[in-house]
Amino acid sequence: MEDHYKITSFCSIRDQTVYKDGEEYYTNTEAATVKDFAKGVYKHLALNYAKFYKMDDLCKLSFLASEVLSQGIEFPEDTALVLANHASSLDTDRKYQESITNREEYYPSPALFVYTLPNIVIGELSIRYQLKSEGVFFVSESFDADFILQYASILLETQKASQVICGWVDLDSHKYDVFLALISKTGNREANAAELNTIYSKL
């Protein structure tokens, strides 16, 4: 793996700032909510993708990171998605729970319920880039570069995928930490756990 595969590009979104390959790409410290911040990034990227507005905040942030990651890159159809986080879909789960807690004000909505699964992020990205590919959503305490990269390498070495988008997409009550990296055969950074951990941690 280390000999053949590279970290082609990466994107992080933290503290109201988007970083592309480690460089600040967009910042908006004025945004009051995750939703507002995400809308600002969307406008900055000059995107035209109606599905964006239907997404929950976790999907929006993940989608935006993937858009930055994809600049100048075409993802082949067999690009796998290997994502993880800590809070699963709890941010949306809490909102959905609010809609059913009071039987007098009971308004469960299918449009919200569908986002009470973390792998909907994988579904949204698969639709956006037409990835008919392997995907898995792990939940763990923190970003485990070693585990994620080991799993990504299995997919690549067994030819279940030709590239892997891997990362950490966490949102928990306004606190978010989004990091996506593309692992493929091109690029300057070696695809090893130490390197992946460095680029995840240093911002």
């Binding site: 569908v114 008919k132 392997e134």
Partner: protein, 380 residues
């Protein structure tokens, strides 16, 4: 490539607290689905498959004592503990452990905030109880979680990361998920009827299951060996809450799994399908099976026995598929009366004793995800 064997397993469900008890119930075509009157879950009566707390308490007595565990944790701990007690050759401290769940302790979300709402709390509970050296990995991938967890475990074992792994999965029948499926108008007003003309939606259920996988051939013999020989999980890339109309992701998952197993569709003896009994899911599956040429292979859905147990379902159904292989028998697709999917498929209307050498297990879920597993009897 190393072979991965399904060594031993246990099921905690409304139909019993061991795999043997569940097989006995299936042979009698008993269902765990009943009319439930429980206003803590839903304001009105509904059809679902609940594990009775008194029965669970009796089953865990002397094994999992105390009140500190949630119902789901009791179910998961009991599943692993039974496996551990029954299998002398199992050294759980040396196993990789993968937990499959969609919503975990979602019932704790009502009321004051608690750490139990985080899925990782379940991993900590299991780690602490069995004194595991590392925290188990969690897979939360909608309704395919249990099958995907088996596929991921197989891949990790074949890559040499572990010789032995335990996949444990579980989900509750909760107010949260039931209300959500009601909001989709996807809940049946009678016990669910997979692939039937009169199907109107799902019944939910709750269950836990544990499966011990090993690459050690010394643990099995020609007559007891069941291998996971192929698997794949391909996304539809079509819609987040509806299946692809062409069954594309499932079609590709099955195609890739067959290829990896090195078998052709005519070598499959039985399909344990997802069969949720929603109009769209069952139709999609029938389309995918037809596209591959599996339309004449005996097929059933076990949702009529268990309801949809979410993160447990594909794991539970794979464990039962293993029993079908070992016993050369298949069970009636409970609830089925008259074919209600456009392309014809060979639904099992009664229990049958047939030679079963290879099984295809499939599942599909929200987010456009699909998984296919091939199980084969005998040593490699």
């Amino acid at each position: 490539m190393k072979s991965v064997y399904a060594i031993a397993d246990t099921i905690v469900s409304p139909l019993g607290f061991s795999t043997a008890a569940n097989v006995a119930a299936l042979r009698k075509n008993q269902t765990g689905i009943t009319k439930v009157v429980d206003t803590s879950i839903h304001e009105h009566p509904f059809f679902g498959a609940l594990i009775e707390k008194t029965a669970l308490n009796a089953a865990r007595k002397g094994i999992i004592e105390g009140d500190q565990y949630t119902k789901l944790e009791q179910m998961l701990l009991l599943a692993i503990a039974q496996l551990n007690r029954e299998q002398a050759a199992l050294d759980i401290q040396k196993c990789g452990v993968i937990i499959s769940t969609t919503k975990g302790n979602i019932d704790t979300l009502r009321g004051t905030a608690t750490e139990k709402s985080y899925l990782t709390s379940i991993a900590h509970t299991i780690q602490d109880f069995f004194k595991l050296p590392t925290l188990p990995v969690i897979i939360s991938n909608a309704c395919i979680s249990g099958g995907l967890a088996i596929a991921v475990a197989k891949r990790m074992m074949q890559a040499g990361r572990y010789e032995d792994m335990i996949v444990v999965g579980g989900d509750l029948l909760s107010e949260f998920t039931l209300s959500g499926f009601f909001s989709f108008q996807a809940v049946s007003d009678a016990p669910c009827k997979p692939f039937c003309k009169h199907r109107t939606g799902i019944s939910l259920g709750e269950a836990a299951a544990a499966l011990w996988l090993s690459s050690r051939e010394s643990l099995v013999s020609e007559n007891t060996a069941v291998r996971i020989t192929g698997e794949a999980s391909i996304n539809d890339a079509n819609h987040i809450s509806g299946p692809s109309r062409t069954g594309e992701g499932l079609y590709r998952s099955i195609t890739n799994a067959l290829q990896e197993a090195g078998v052709t569709p005519d070598q499959i003896d039985y399909i344990s399908s997802h069969g949720t009994a929603t109009p769209y899911n069952d139709e999609m599956e029938a389309i995918a099976f037809n596209r591959i040429g599996l339309q004449n292979v005996p097929v059933n859905s076990l949702k009529g026995y268990y309801g949809h147990t979410l993160g447990a379902s594909a794991l539970l159904e794979t464990i039962l598929a293993k029993q079908c292989l070992l016993n050369n028998e298949v069970y009636a697709s409970l609830g089925f009366e008259e074919l209600g999917v456009t392309p014809p498929i060979a639904i099992l209307k009664e229990n049958k004793e047939i030679p079963v050498q290879r099984v295809l297990k499939t599942a599909s879920g929200f987010g456009g995800c699909n998984v296919a597993l091939i199980l084969e009897k005998g040593l490699a």
